[in-house]
């Protein structure tokens, strides 16, 4: 079952990610990205990170992507036109460069983690909400406080940017 679920959701994630890049309309891209995030949440569950899995859905799919869709709808962004000239260098070297990047990443994964062990569902229960919260509020208390300041700054920044366009 481990293998089945991993393969199923890995394939869904990759197909949706390809769709994010390939779709012409921003709304289709956004929905494909939600698909990626949903399948990643299932993979997090398989990896024993139940809190992160729900946080992924609540924060990413439920809040960040709603903002994206909201902005796309607000600006009434249409489909991207594929015409226009592209630089010759980019079209010639683009695909090889991407493939090379993927090759390098895969090489390092295989080089450094050839026998890194296996993942089995339920073999490790360290990602429960209790364990996560305990670590967050003891070992990582300072980073946690700093992120709250960061969020405050982001809120103020967003308000300032939105206010400027009002007047």
């Amino acid at each position: 079952m481990n293998l089945f679920f991993f393969l199923l959701f890995a394939i869904i994630a990759v197909v949706c990610a390809v769709s994010v890049v390939a779709q012409r309309h921003p709304i289709s891209s956004a929905l494909s990205l939600i698909g990626v995030m949903g399948s990643l949440a299932v993979l997090y569950l398989l990896l024993g990170a139940e809190f992160i899995a729900t946080a992924q859905i609540i924060v990413y799919a439920g809040a960040v992507m709603v903002l994206f869709i909201f902005v796309i709808m607000l600006l009434n962004a249409g489909a991207e036109d594929r015409g226009g000239k592209r630089s010759l260098l980019a079209s010639a070297l683009g695909v090889p460069a991407i493939v090379a990047l993927l090759g390098v990443l895969c090489y390092f994964v295989q080089r450094w983690f050839p026998n890194a062990g296996t993942v089995q569902f339920d073999a490790w229960r360290g990602g429960s909400a209790q364990a996560f919260g305990y670590a967050l509020f003891t070992d990582y208390l300072l980073p946690f406080e700093v992120t709250s300041v960061l969020i405050l700054i982001a809120i103020i920044g967003a308000i300032v940017l939105a206010r400027k366009e009002l007047d």
């Binding site: 709304i27 929905l31 139940e50 809190f51 859905i57 799919a61 809040a63 709603v66 909201f70 709808m73």
Partner: protein, 396 residues
């Protein structure tokens, strides 16, 4: 194998009961609003209009499904499906009773007990906004688009006070599993006050409950926060272009969301299936007493009938109520049925409040709605969480 069979049976049972209840919730809503406004409500199809939901379903299924030519077909057809899917799926983690034993197998009255059950509900309900937003966008109509935009802004705004209001009782019970939450509220203080988080020491969660209910009205797009579908300004908002079953799907989603938020309020604030007063003082006799009273009233009005048909229908209902009262008082089934009765009673009262407010309050203006969420509800929820945390830390 047995596990899968039991799960399938539970699934079929819950789906059947839930869908029937959703259809009849519509009937109850129409009846209650009618009586608040001194009207009759549905009364032609079947006795007291009881077959009206069935007639509505048949009408909606057999109606022609119009697809306007200017819509984005894929998203237009996907949106109602998404809305109803997200609304129904969150029911699966809600417990509604203790446990049941039959033929040597014991199973819990819940589809799945998840460790992070409450977070799962929040996650799924936060996905529900896509159905409405996409419906508004794909309809390619300015009123729909405005409705979709309003709904997405409204739902992200009200999710904050909603989650903060939920966090306060969680501080007191200290778990995210909904079954554990209810078990943590068992028992009584001073012998008779139930230990529900809304009453319990050290910090009664009355304010959390009120904040949660207000935010829940906005999350389910109900009056007074039904701006996404405001009839008199946006025609009907995001579902202008929808007809037949696609239209019904949005209504089903709305009612299913209502049931979900009311269940969450029941589980977290009102002690789930814990009785209002101890069993020693006879709380088990409340259900048979209410049903017996209902049966007696039916029989009385059947004898002194106002309309000729009442001679037959009301005594029939009376007999059904008497039988149910007998079942509720039958000792072997009491431990199974009593939790379900208490859960359904609390859920029913909250659902009635939803309908009652729809019949009473006018709609807010849009800027008032957003101002209320950000300038009043959010700070109050934050303050409430702080005070609760302080009290819990001081007294435990």
């Amino acid at each position: 194998m047995v596990f899968f069979i039991i799960t399938l049976i539970k699934l079929a049972l819950i789906a059947f009961v839930l869908l029937t209840a959703l259809a009849y919730l519509q009937w109850v809503e129409r009846k209650v609003i009618a009586h608040v406004q001194v009207r009759m409500g549905p009364s032609r199809v079947g006795p007291h209009g009881l077959l009206q939901p069935l007639a509505d379903v048949i009408k909606l299924i057999t109606k022609e499904g119009v697809i306007p030519p200017h819509v984005n077909k894929f998203f237009y057809l996907g949106a109602p499906f998404l809305a109803v899917f997200m609304a129904l799926i969150s029911i699966s983690v809600i417990p509604f009773g203790t446990q049941i034993s039959a033929f040597g197998y014991t199973t819990q009255m819940q589809l799945t007990d998840v460790n992070v059950g409450l977070l799962v509900i929040l996650a799924i309900s936060s996905m529900g906004v896509y159905g409405i937003a996409l419906a508004g966008w794909a309809s390619n109509n300015k009123y729909s688009l405005l409705g979709g935009l309003r709904s997405s802004a409204q739902m992200i705004s009200y999710e904050l006070p909603l989650s903060l209001a939920l966090a306060a009782p969680l501080l007191m019970v200290g778990t995210l599993s909904l079954r554990e939450v209810v078990n943590g509220q068992a028992g009584f203080q001073l012998g008779f006050i139930p230990k529900w988080t809304i009453f319990s020491f050290p910090s009664p969660q009355i304010f959390s409950f009120l904040i949660f209910m207000i935010a829940a009205f906005a999350e389910t797009n109900r009056v007074p926060f039904d701006l996404p579908e405001a009839e008199n300004e946006l025609v009907a908002g995001f579902h202008v272009e929808y007809s037949s079953m696609k239209f019904a799907a949005f209504f089903m989603a709305e009612y299913a969301n209502m049931v979900t938020v009311c269940s969450v309020a029941t589980l977290l604030f009102l002690g789930g299936w814990q009785p209002l007063w101890p069993v020693e003082y006879g709380s088990n006799f409340l259900a048979p007493a209410i049903l017996f009273l209902a049966g007696a009233i039916c029989i009385y009005h059947g004898i002194n009938w106002a309309r000729p048909l009442d001679k037959y229908t009301l005594p029939a209902f009376g007999v059904i109520f008497f039988l149910l009262a007998g079942l509720m008082a039958f000792p072997p089934v009491v431990p199974v049925l009593m939790p379900i009765f208490w859960f359904c009673a609390k859920l029913g009262i909250l659902l009635f409040v939803f309908v009652w407010i729809r019949a009473t309050l006018p709609r807010l203006r849009y800027d008032q709605l957003m101002g209320f969420a950000w300038k009043f509800l959010f700070p109050v929820a934050l303050l409430n969480l702080l005070v609760t945390g302080l009290l819990v830390a001081l007294f435990s």
